[in-house]
Every structure is written in C-alpha cells, then in structure tokens.
Amino acid sequence: MENLVYIALFAPLVGSLFAALFAMTPKNLITAFVTSGLLFVSWVASSSLLMYVMDHGTISVNMMEWIAAGNLTIDFGFQVDAITAVMMVVVTTVSTVVHVYSIGYMEHDKGFNRFFSYLSAFVFSMMILVMSDNFAGLFIGWEGVGVCSWLLIGFWYHKADVSTDVNPSISPSWAANEAFIVNRIADLAMLIGIFLIYWNVGSLNYDVFFAAIPSLENSLLVSIGIALFIGAMGKSAQFPLHTWLADAMEGPTPVSALIHAATMVTAGVYLVVRANPLYAEIPNVSLFIAYLGTFVAIFAASMALVNRDLKRIIAYSTLSQLGYMFAAAGLGAYWVALFHLAAHAFFKALLFLGAGNVMHAMHDELDIFKMGGLKKAMRGTYLYMGLASLALAGIFPLAGFFSKDTILEVAFNEHTYIIWFVLWITAGLTAFYSFRQVFLTFDGDERYKKETDAHPHEVQNFVLVAMAPLAILAIIFGFFMNPFKEFATTILPAYEMSEHTHHIAWILIIVTTLIAVSGIVLAYKKYANGLVRDEKMENSFIYKLLQNQYYIPKFYMEFIAKPYKEISDILWNKVDMKVVDATVDGIAKIIYFTGDKSRKMQTGNLSDYLNWMGVGAMLLIVITALSMSLS
C-alpha cells in the first residue's frame, strides 16, 4: 500500500519534470502523452487507495524526517484517510480529463510543453496538500498550488492589457500577480495559525493537535480557528478576498477548469473539513463561517446575473458554490461540504471545459451577447454545458441536486432559517444565470454573424470523449450519496437530520426544485428566443452596481492599491534614494577619493617605497609600545 501512496503522489511530479525538459523546445506531443499517462497512473493508484481505505481504514506513511532542529521535528508524513482519498480521486479524475482536454485546447500554443509541465506540477502540489499528515506539509502544498496558479494564470504573460466592452482592462500577468498577492495576505494569517498551534501544542501533526484540543483554552482555539479560516478565505476566494478569482479567468480555460473551479479553490473547504475537531469546539467561529459562506453564495450569484463574460459567469458561480460548501461546513455538516465539493468539481470542470470549446469556436470572444445559436455548430458542447448547468442548478437526478439539497436541508435542520432562505434564493439565481448563459450562447439568433467574424465549429472528437467521464460523473455521482456518507463519516462526524426535518424533507426538495425550475423557465423566456436588450434596466443603478462587482475592485484600487503606491513612491524617492542609497554611495565615494589621493604614493621609485616601509614600521613600533605601556 505504501508504494501506491508514493505512486499516486510522485507520478505527477515525474511527469512535470519530464515535460520541463522540453520547456524551451517547440511543441512535442510526447510531453502531453507522458504527463497525461502518468496522471492516469496516479488516478489508478488513488482509486485503489480509495478502495483499500474503504476496507481497511487509514493508511499512514512516514517518508522521512524533514526538519529536526532542537525540539522541532517535522516529518514528511502522509496519511490517506476517507477525506484524503476522496480529494485524491477528485483531483486526479479532473486533472486527467483536463490534461487530455488540453492536448486539443493548447494545440497551437507555443508554450505547449511548458503548459503541461506547470499543470502536472500543480497536481503534485495539490496531492501534497491533501495527503500531508501535518500542517507544515499542508502549507507546502498550499504554497505550491499558489505558485502553480500564478504560473498558469500568467501563462500568456506576453499579452498586453486588452480592453473589451465587458471586462475591465487587465492582462494575464496582472491577474496572476493579483491572485498571488491576495493569497499572500491570507497566507500570513494561516502561518500565524500554524505558529500558534506549534507554540501551544509542540507539534504540527493533525492527530497530535486534535488530541490536544480539549486541553487548550477556548480563546486560543478561537484565534487558531480564525487564523486558519482567513487562510482558507484567501485560497477559496471568500469575501473580502474574492476579487482575484474572477480576474484569474485571464488564464487558459483548462487552468480555470482545473484550478479555479475543481481543485485549488476548494482547498480552503478542505482545510475547514480537515480541521473539523477544531471547528466543532468553537461554534461561534463556525457559525460565522456559515454566515459568510451564505453571504458569498448570494453575493457572487448576484454578480453572475448581469455579467456578459462567459468565463466570469462560471467563476462567480464557483464562488457562489464555494459559499455553499462553507455554509455546510460551518453548520457542522462536514461530509455534506465534502460531498458538494466533489460533485461541484465534476460538473463545474465540465462547464468550464465546455466554455473553453465555445471560446475556441468563437476565436477567444467571451461576450455572450455576441454569440447565440451556437447549438447548430456545437451539438456536443451544447449537450455537455446544458447538462452541467442542470447539475449546477440542482435538478434531479444530477449530482448538484443531491448535494445542494442536502445543504439546504442542513440549514433548515439547524434552525438557521436565514441561511436556508438566502441559500434557497441563491439556488434560484444559480438556475437563472446558468441558463441565461446557456441560452444566450447556444440558442436564439446567430448574433455572432454580425458581431464577429468567427466561424464556429465543434472541437476535435477526442476532446469531447475526454470530457465524457465528467459528464457521466455529473449525472450519476448523486446516487452515491449514501455510500459516500458512510465512507466519509468513518472520519468525519456523522451529521444526522432530526425527525422533524426528515418528515418535511420532501417539501424542502419540492420548494427548492421549484425555485430552480422557475429560474430556468425565466431564463428561457427572456433569452431563448434571442436577446432583447432592455436599455432602461441596463442603466439602472442596481444593474450598474452588479456589473461593476459592487465597485469592490474599484474600491480596492482607489483605497488600497493607490495609497500603497503613493507611499511606496515617497519611500523610494525620499527614504531609499536620499538615505539608504546616499549612505552606500557615500561610502563608495570616500573610498574612491582616498584611493585617488593615495595613488600618488606609487612613484615607482624603490627608495620611496622603502621610506614608506620605514614609516609603517615606526608606526607599528609606536603602537606596540603604546599598547604595552597602557596594559
């Protein structure tokens, strides 16, 4: 079993290093085949580990001692338990599909080999993140995925700012830096949390920490819980650190599917689920997490309502679904959060990959107002995206129905009716914006003929085939809810609904389905027969507010980025140039000046040198005599 752990973990690394060898050379299909093949190997290993863990329980492996300094001992240890096994299978499944998909998507890209190297490196970091048995290893993976995300968002770093009529003008490298910097802010809090754990427990191992929780003071647990959650907020793009996720859509679409929908952004949820013994002890923080998640769910959904950018709509919906996950985790239903995480990974990755197909067909046009009627040309993609949107909207019997409905039930069961109500509204908004996007893209009149010079065509067949596993999972995954629950609750606390909730569960299901269906119907009525633009609505205050993302990016720019730049300018011109640089330059100038003056000693005449030597010797004698007489 130990070998399987290593294979699952290191196969992506080997693939990444192999592809890195070809990074500077023109496109070579072998890199794609090797990385995809190795990821498939990793997937097989992860799946067998899942089977094994189901039968035999947790596997722990200690690879080597990593840091041993004084009292600090940190091992490179890995453990595969129910949570990890689920995460591993989700990560490897999605990433294998994305790798194969990228062979088609990146076909004409100059950085083809480099792309695969980054992508596999990302999977490796993600595997470390989920497999580590201590916070130090988790943090390495955490930073690793951050770096890979930076590399991949900025993959087309040479692109300049492109201003469109839907997007603020940003370049991929700008977006990459934004994502990285916002995450640094959150990571600082996370590091503080990790330090607090180490100071008070003396170990970073999960099991040791969880065992020590009862003996720790409540205030300390609260601060650790908050610090770790701020870290999770950064990675999972929760308010107010959410701005980077939508901008991260500047990266290639497979990256958005893998990193910014299915895996990396769920790392925050994973962290909260993993630290469930901690959050169970601090109900106030947990409740805050639930409320924040709920707020983000509706907040992001409202921005998705009016956005015109195909990928940004999906990005906001990812944000919204992450809010659902945090709501579930905050309410103590950790396995439900994990279930929604897995289900969401499958249908959201599918949705993104479908969006990638559309983008390809439309020559990188993302404005859905300029599309329409694409279903004729792209039947397969239409089917996939429709399916994924149905799953996202939570329509029976697709995966999203089961997971989202359970979250709503949990909210109801906890008597947090505000959360339930907001999430219920959000379910309606989700259905509306998903289908607004689908109908505007695929139905109605063919606006692209007038607006663009694209000639849409379906992608290669192998790309469609590669997406099939995700489609199948999006359909059937919901039916595995009960086995999943049984499996996950071997590690996670079992969350049971009360009798009362059980009785009215079917009412909740009907109510939820009703709002989802009405959202879809509304979208159909408004958009399926073509786009009729409503000038009055588009100029209304709320529409503008939503379209400008509540002016939060602008606020950050005006009140954080610009003052920061001004302070930096002052420090640069006044402090750095006039104090620091001046000191260093001054020392250099003194040495230069004295050297210039003493240069004249070098007359070339031996006699003069001897005289100088005599002077030196005399000086030494005098100093020696003085120091001897003084001591």
């Binding site: 240069r599 000693m601 070098q602 007359t603 070339g604 005449n605 031996l606 006699s607 001897l610 005599g614």
Partner: protein, 100 residues
C-alpha cells in the same frame, strides 16, 4: 665591565645605521650593504642575549641568519649584475619604471 646593555646599544646603533642606509642611499649595492649591517646587528643582539641567559639557541639562530644572509647575497648580487648589464647603472632614481 661590559654588560648586556652595552651589546644591545651597539646592536641598536648598528641597526639604525643600516636602516638609515636603506632609506637614504640611492645605489642598490649600498642598499645591500645596509641590509647586511642590519642583519648583523640582529646577530650581535642574539649572541649577547644567548650568552647572558646561558642558552645556546640564540647563537644557533645567529648562524641561521648568517646562512640566510649568505644565500640572499648570492642571489641578490646575481640579480644586480643582470640589472647593471641591462641599465648600465644601479641608481634607484633611474629605475622607476612602474608608476601609479
């Protein structure tokens, strides 16, 4: 009665003469002579101190100095001859070829 201090004064005087010679003379050959005077001033000090303390190692050291001085002169005079053949003079003021 001649004591240790007399020898030391003699040695110091000789050393000073040698040092002044090294500093003031312009002829390379004279510089050599001056160096020899300084070495022998040291030898006198060594021998006198050795006798004073009844310890032979000082005199042994003096022999080493003499041996080193002899080989130094052998090499140095060879170089001087080459230099004289090349320049026709041993005056230091005429030998300034390197300037800072």
């Amino acid at each position: 009665m001649i004591g240790l201090s007399h020898y030391m004064i003699l040695s110091g005087l000789l050393f000073s003469i040698g040092l002044i010679g090294v500093l003031r003379r312009k002829n390379l050959l004279m510089l050599f002579f001056a160096t020899e005077i300084m070495l022998n001033a040291a030898n006198i000090a060594f021998a006198a101190a050795s006798h004073y303390y009844g310890d032979l190692s000082g005199q042994m050291f003096a022999f080493f100095v003499i041996a080193v001085a002899a080989s130094e002169v052998a090499v140095g005079l060879g170089l001087l001859i080459v230099l004289y053949k090349k320049n026709g003079s041993l005056d230091l003021d005429n030998l300034t070829v390197m300037k800072g």
